[in-house]
Symmetry: C2
Subunit: 195 residues, 2 copies
């Protein structure tokens, strides 16, 4: 059924029952997006947060020089959206774009709050998730500060091997914080070393 992935995922962090998950799904808007479609853009209000039930997206920012920087990719079982914009009512500074056809379970603020309130285990999950996301960001910053692009590439390869099958390489480069040409060069050097 439709809630299966969500259920399995939540279960891993928090003792939640199938009924609770069904209830959670009940609060959601089930939405589909086409490839390349934007869920929101920089300067808009990010009205929803959502669970990726199917598909792949990128969450990114455009800097003053007009260059993209991918904050992260989201695939199945990821939650995505700008929680801060969501709660602060400020326009978001990010873009969220589908890279594949996506099926999402979306929550506007009201639905999300209600779900958190009515399903305490879910609230607990959100808090844990939030803390982990914060950690992950710091870790990424540290990695940017102290590792070479090659190391970052290798770690990504290890951590999310699937991503390489789903996302064009120049977007991987953007995620790693380098130019596509540089990634190409790194891959070439690596293949030379191997052999």
């Amino acid at each position: 059924m439709r809630h299966q992935l969500l259920f399995n995922h939540l279960k891993q962090t928090v003792p939640i029952s199938e009924e609770e998950v069904l209830k959670l799904l009940d609060y959601a808007l089930i939405k589909n997006y086409r490839k390349k479609e934007y869920l929101f853009m920089q300067g808009e209000f990010a009205k929803y947060v959502g669970f990726v039930n199917q598909g792949c997206l990128r969450y990114y920012q455009i800097d003053e020089n007009g260059e993209d920087h991918i904050i992260y990719f989201a695939i199945e079982t990821w939650w995505i959206g700008d929680l801060n914009s969501f709660y602060s009512g400020q326009p978001t500074g990010f873009n969220l774009q589908a890279l594949e056809p996506c099926e999402m379970f979306m929550y506007d603020k009201e639905r999300f709050e209600k779900a958190r309130f009515e399903i305490p285990t879910f609230d607990q999950y959100v808090k844990i998730r939030h803390a982990k996301a914060t950690d992950a960001r710091l870790e990424r910053m540290m990695s940017q500060l102290s590792e070479t692009a090659e190391t970052r590439y290798l770690k990504l390869l290890e951590k999310f091997p699937d991503i390489f099958q789903r996302v064009p390489q120049h977007l991987i480069a953007s995620f790693l914080g380098i130019q596509p040409q540089s990634l190409s060069r790194i891959r070439k050097q690596m293949s030379r070393k191997e052999s």
Copy 2:
């Protein structure tokens, strides 16, 4: 009085009364640290979060190559500590060291939770603060990705001019993510441009 700075600071974000602040201060442990003293170190449990009533500290991490990376400096009116370690019960990955003699208002988990619960305006303040801190981290990461060290230096100079009076230059370099020699070079180049 002792609560003055805290009161003035909180008032700026949230409508809080002097009584509430006195109550908040009542829950705190008032602690003094000597220059160079560590409040906690990587691998320990970060038992406290605290408000800097007086002094200056650095919050940093040591990477695999044994190099320091300063996440941020904290001076008067900053809150500091590892909230995640605090709530997750996991050992912290950070070091917190006084760079000057410090007076801190410290809260262990119990005191902090109690304060949040008993003083709703304070709880509101903590939430806002938390969201802002998350944003600030992302902004810093973006800055690392898309700006030169010189730009980052200039922005720091603009945003926290005081820091330069209080903190040795090689720590500023660590915060900017460069070597002390590089900062020296940048400053030299800049002074040449000016004249």
